[in-house]
Amino acid sequence: MSKRSDARNLSTRHPSRVTRRGQRIGVFVCHCGHNIAGVVDVKRVAEELSRYPGVVYATDYEYMCSDPGQDLIKRAIREHRLSGVVVAACSPSMHETTFRRAAEEAGLNPYLVECANIREHCSWVHNPGLEATEKAVRITRTMVEKVKGNMPLEPVEVSHADKCLVVGGGIAGIQAALDVAEAGYEVILAERSPTIGGHMAQLSETFPTLDCSQCILTPKMVEVERHPNIRLLVNAEVEEISGFIGNYRVRIRKRPAYVDPDLCNLCGECEKVCPVRVPNEFDRGLLERGAIYIPFPQAVPSTYTLDEETCLGIKPLICGKCAEVCEPGAIDFDMSEEVIEEEVGAIILATGYDLYETKALPEYSPEDPDVIDPLQFERLLSATGPTRGEIRRPSDGKVPKTVVFIKCAGSRDPELHKPYCSAICCMYTAKHALLYKHAVPDGRAIVFYIDIRAPGKGYEEFIHRVMEEDRVLYIRGKVAKVFREGDKLIVWGVDTLSGQRVEVEADLVVLAMAVVPPEGVEELARTLRLSCLDENGFLKEAHPKLRPLETLAGGIFIAGAAQGPKDIPQAVTQGSGAAAKAISLLSAPVLTHSPEVAEVDEELCSGCRVCAPLCPYGAITVEEVAQVNELLCEGCGTCVAACPSGALSLRNLDDAQVERMVEAALAELEGAREAVEVKGG
């Protein structure tokens, strides 16, 4: 006996997508005063629709959005046992929510309510009469077809973890961590270097107020360490992030410091006996450090750290001299790395920036010790720096009498280097020039510039002060070449305002290098499984104007220079802003998400993987068959249109529905073409 095998062998229109039988659609045509009724014969529309297959009730009313109008809908739903509602009125952007809520109150699933736009798309743009009325009929019919194919849906709810992860311990990360912690949520702050503070800790003073950078930063750093809600992890890198909004699983690898921070008393004897000498990162190579070292005296956590990479050997132990002289016995060579796994609800990426390497500009002799980058100059200015705050040039320790500052080094150069403006160089160069002139009053400070960008509060005034009071010489022009000649660095530039070539004999040259994303950001972005880097490698915001702190991954926020070059007040602002976003997420009892998302019919999916690369949200994963994460899916339907086998469909907008909508839009209108009646004159 033959059996019915393989029920999907031929197109059988999956039961879940079949037009629901026994449709009882109600159509409500709104007059909207004269707005619609003055152009469209609303009674005629209702009458035409009452004869349309599936429609059991059709009426018209003055103002559907009013209370009596909504009551009309609710009563009709109950009395006529409606299975769907179409309100032919204004744009859904106006009142779709209104009518859906009303229907829900009457016991009808809100997703079975649609608006037919016969105002903005019809009565407001056409002349009164037959054509407008016929168009209104067509539009309403298409929405009846849509409703006929809609399924009742419920918003997707998901619970979420209560913690927040902040990646990066610079000023933006510190601010974000403090704000989230203050709101009462647990924060994990992961910083990959041995101390928090970021680049701001390297600065001498900040523009335009000339605050001592460390003085304003250190209290915040200490607060982070002290705060009961913040778990501070240094030497820690985020290895993997998986999951989705509200439910991220993070894996952090914490390198051992080999020094117990609770025992270390900062005596520094260990570094004195350490045989290793390597360039110190904090001073950008202007000083050396031992393999065991503290980045700077105010480091948080306040402890020395043994750097495994530069130590002669720990496992097996080669030297061990540091432990011999450590009185509190803080050094422990048996420490091992820790892998920390946590579930967090929100993540804030505040990975900061680095400077474009001077090597990229060979025309400026970057290998010359007296050609330095701005962070190195900060270290020279700093009282805790290699020269104790005296400005002495690296090559011979002499006080430079002529310092040339070259702005836009590597920035604003779409052909060869970075196309963008690095935002902070104009201000810090002015600051550097000013501080130099204060330190060396008889010195000459010359700034080669193309433009001067000083948008912040007090910034323009600061520039003026630098030019007028401190007599820094600003020359508008690019520098072609810098080269050593004996004791001096020769700078060849141009003064575009006078049209003359300029040659300066400088003692020290400071290159305002472009701000670039730090190393490791690409790998971090990759673990997030979606494109969250912009064309310059900075973290990409969801929308440049209106969503600057969110990424396209729900629950992952960004703050600070990680998003693009910016100054400290902007970074702090973004840190607080990202914190607010995280707090908003963490404080919601459940997260809800629209149910109008894509779904896969696993019986049809062959695993062809046409869909997965198309999703900007990384919502599709494919093993043998594709799967859509309904929390990540935003319902755009791009994958659905691309799916060759029809396995993917978009809830409440599948191809069968649209087919019928198109048919309804184009069908010939039967019935007499008598004159229509419209209101008013």
């Binding site: 006996m1 033959s2 059996k3 019915r4 095998s5 393989d6 999907r8 062998n9 031929l10 197109s11 059988t12 229109r13 999956h14 997508r17 079949v18 494109s531 064309e535 019919d601 019986e603 049809l604 999916c605 062959s606 695993g607 062809c608 993987r609 046409v610 997965a612 690369p613 198309l614 494919v622 791009t638 249109a641 691309a642 799916c643 060759p644 086998s645 029809g646 396995a647 469909s649 599948d654 191809d655 069968a656 087919e659």
Partner: protein
């Protein structure tokens, strides 16, 4: 789920699958309700070719030695390619006396249509064998032009398929139909064995079911529901994209990686599996001969959409438009590429 090309006709003839399946079409044939023969019986088999290249008749040999077994277990009552027979022999058979008639070839001429109807009347079950009978096949690409245009192009002005000078009307060549159509446009079709020609696994599947007494209830297509990619051994990367479109003679493809990723237009994602993806296994992209998967709808637009979606470079943006267009331009003949076998079914004159 995708729409079909605006037409309701599927194997089974003219009715939506949820609707009534037992009513005949308007053509003169009757539906027989007796089951397909049991294991011990020898089914009466007919095989006929209409607008055919002959490949389908040859294809039976693909099952290798098993053909001997098959032939010994059927009774061939009509098979012009193999056995001498005349039309009058067929006309003399009682209605429904042929158990299964396999018809291959497109319905191109009046005679093709007549023979199809005749076989329908004489057979319990009609099998559309091969892509031409199933979907129109390569010959149905002719449907992009009308009959008149074709005559003009091929023969110049004034050609009519009339009788030779001095002969009577009976000696005339059969006239072309307005379009080259799949079998189901002319008679109700019970089964389909798709392919150009049907590949050995599917031929075996069919005869195995027929001779094992396990035929599924018609209508039924003897191929997988899922697309070829399910069977294909090539690796598909999650971040795949297409940066060029090339034709098979222009490249030597990497044997491990998906052909689509390498720029070859493989119709695999939209085509039924069941052939063990033998073309991709041999380094040739699938051309879609088994026809589209049941919910794919129109395979041409389905594949067009998939292909266009995947063509991209390292990022998307206005600056990439010219490069993307350059790649897309390389697709010289979308119609021939996407509808190579299926134009008859999906895009014809209405």
């Amino acid at each position: 789920m995708k729409m079909n090309g605006g037409r309701n006709v599927r194997p089974g003839g003219g009715k939506d699958m949820e609707g009534d399946m037992s009513s005949p079409t308007s053509l003169t044939e009757t539906r027989h309700s007796s089951p397909v023969p049991r294991r011990d019986a020898k089914p009466k088999l007919a095989v006929y070719w209409t607008g055919s290249c002959g490949g389908c008749d040859v294809s039976f040999l693909e099952v290798g030695e098993a053909i001997v077994e098959v032939l010994s277990r059927v009774e061939i009552v009509f098979w012009p390619a193999l056995v001498d027979a005349k039309r009058s022999d067929l006309e003399a058979l009682p209605p429904g006396s042929i158990d299964v008639a396999l018809i291959n070839g497109v319905i191109r001429t009046e005679e093709n249509a007549e023979m199809a109807k005749l076989l329908r009347a004489k057979s319990k079950y009609i099998v559309a064998y091969g892509a031409c009978a199933h979907l129109g096949g390569v010959p149905s690409l002719a449907d992009r032009w009308g009959k008149e245009e074709i005559f003009r192009e091929v023969f110049g002005k004034g050609f009519r398929p009339g009788p030779p000078p001095g002969a009577n009307g009976e000696a005339a060549l059969p006239d072309l139909l307005d379009a080259a159509v799949p079998l189901e446009d002319v008679v109700r079709v019970d089964y389909v064995v798709p392919g150009c020609p049907p590949p050995a696994p599917l031929i075996s599947r069919f005869f195995g079911a027929l001779l094992g007494g396990e035929m599924p209830e018609p209508p039924h297509v003897f191929a997988n529901v899922k697309a070829l990619c399910e069977e294909c051994q090539r690796v598909r990367h999650d971040d795949r994209r297409i940066e060029r479109i090339v034709r098979p003679h222009e490249v030597l493809p990497d044997p491990e990686t998906c052909l689509l990723e390498q720029g070859l237009i493989c119709m695999g994602p939209v085509t039924r599996g069941g052939c063990n993806a033998l073309c991709p296994a041999a380094g040739m992209p699938c051309t879609g001969c088994l026809g589209p998967t049941p919910e794919a709808g129109d395979p041409g637009t389905a594949m067009l959409s998939a292909l266009a979606s995947l063509v991209r470079f390292e990022d998307e943006g206005e600056e990439y438009f010219p490069k993307e267009d350059g790649v897309l331009e390389a697709l010289a003949d979308p119609l021939g590429t996407f509808y190579m076998y299926s134009f008859g079914r999906f895009r014809r004159k209405r």
